[in-house]
């Protein structure tokens, strides 16, 4: 999708339902968000989903937001763990 701010918890839940052990959401670092609050919204939603998953007895890191700097060659991706 064009921005992680558009992420829907239902999409993440479906991935887990299909059998994924962990789901990573790759998005811009919050301070570099092209849409200003997209990454922040994604993180807030993921935090909300984490609470649900923990109630289900699943690991907190079943879903994780990973910030990747914008405008960078995919070969040089350096992954920053934010959550």
């Amino acid at each position: 999708m064009s921005c992680t701010g558009k992420i829907d918890n239902l999409t993440l839940l479906h991935a887990l339902e299909e059998g994924a052990e962990q789901v990573f959401v790759f998005g811009c670092p919050e301070e570099e968000c092209h849409n200003l609050t997209g990454s922040k919204k994604a993180r807030t939603r993921i935090e909300y989903l984490k609470k649900i998953l923990m109630e289900l007895g699943m690991r907190e890191d079943s879903v994780k937001f990973v910030a990747v700097p914008r405008v960078i060659s995919p070969k040089r991706y350096k992954i920053y763990h934010v959550s």
């Binding site: 829907d8 239902l10 839940l13 479906h14 339902e17 109630e55 289900l56 699943m58």
Partner: protein, 220 residues
């Protein structure tokens, strides 16, 4: 509108224990607006239930439906067959919708997925607050349209109380004192003389549940 919120997942899963065919029913009215029981929340609930059962190797079939209003049985025809097929119906409506389902389907297990909160407004996206307690004897003409019963923790009818401090509530300091707001609005409207009228204590005995309104002129 009626504001509600989802019960803790554990509580919902516990009440669903033992049921294999679960109908999840949302409502397109208030609970859709307050993001507690609309289409998306129904789908999320279905997914959560299936994930839980899959993790525990327990079979489950979920059916997801959303109807226009659960407080009116006229809309139930859309789910009649699904209700008959299911072992239990999980309602994502307010308590009124749950009651309506239970009264309409006496032989079916009807379960609530939400805790119904109050009648309120949307302050901003994701924030709702109470504005009316449904007392049945509205006094908003005397209080500039702002309800002291809904917004004052003490329900002071002739306020403010002595705890009001610089326009803030003593019980919830983050809130504006509603009587301060009433004063400001009456002043703006040049109606401060309304504050001289003492509002008598309410006769709560006339509002005992279950309340009912009958309009003979529109009955069929």
């Amino acid at each position: 509108m009626i504001i509600a919120q989802r019960k803790p997942i554990k509580e919902i899963l516990k009440m669903l224990e033992g049921y294999k065919k679960i109908l999840i029913v949302g409502c397109r009215a208030c609970v859709t607006v307050c993001c507690a029981g609309g289409q998306k929340e129904v789908e999320v609930m279905g997914s959560i239930i299936r994930i839980d059962r899959k993790r525990r190797n327990i079979a489950v079939k979920t059916i997801e439906r959303v109807i226009d209003r659960q407080c009116d049985s006229i809309y139930f025809s859309a789910i009649d067959e699904d209700v008959q097929e299911s072992d239990a119906v999980l309602s994502l409506a307010c308590g009124v919708g749950v009651n309506m389902l239970a009264e309409t389907y006496p032989k079916k297990v009807i379960l609530p997925a939400l805790n119904t909160g109050f009648m309120g407004i949307t302050e901003e996206q994701g924030v709702w607050s109470e504005r009316c307690i449904g007392c049945g004897d509205c006094i908003l003409d005397k209080t500039a349209g702002l309800c002291p019963l809904a917004r004052c923790p003490k329900g002071v009818l002739n306020g403010p109380c002595l705890g009001s401090n610089q326009g803030k509530c003593e019980v919830y300091p983050e809130n504006d004192c509603v009587w301060y707001l009433i004063y400001k609005r009456l002043k703006e409207l040049n109606q401060l003389d309304k504050l001289k009228e003492i509002i008598p204590p309410k006769n709560w005995s006339e509002g005992l549940p279950p309340r009912k309104i009958i309009r003979e002129d529109i009955r069929l």
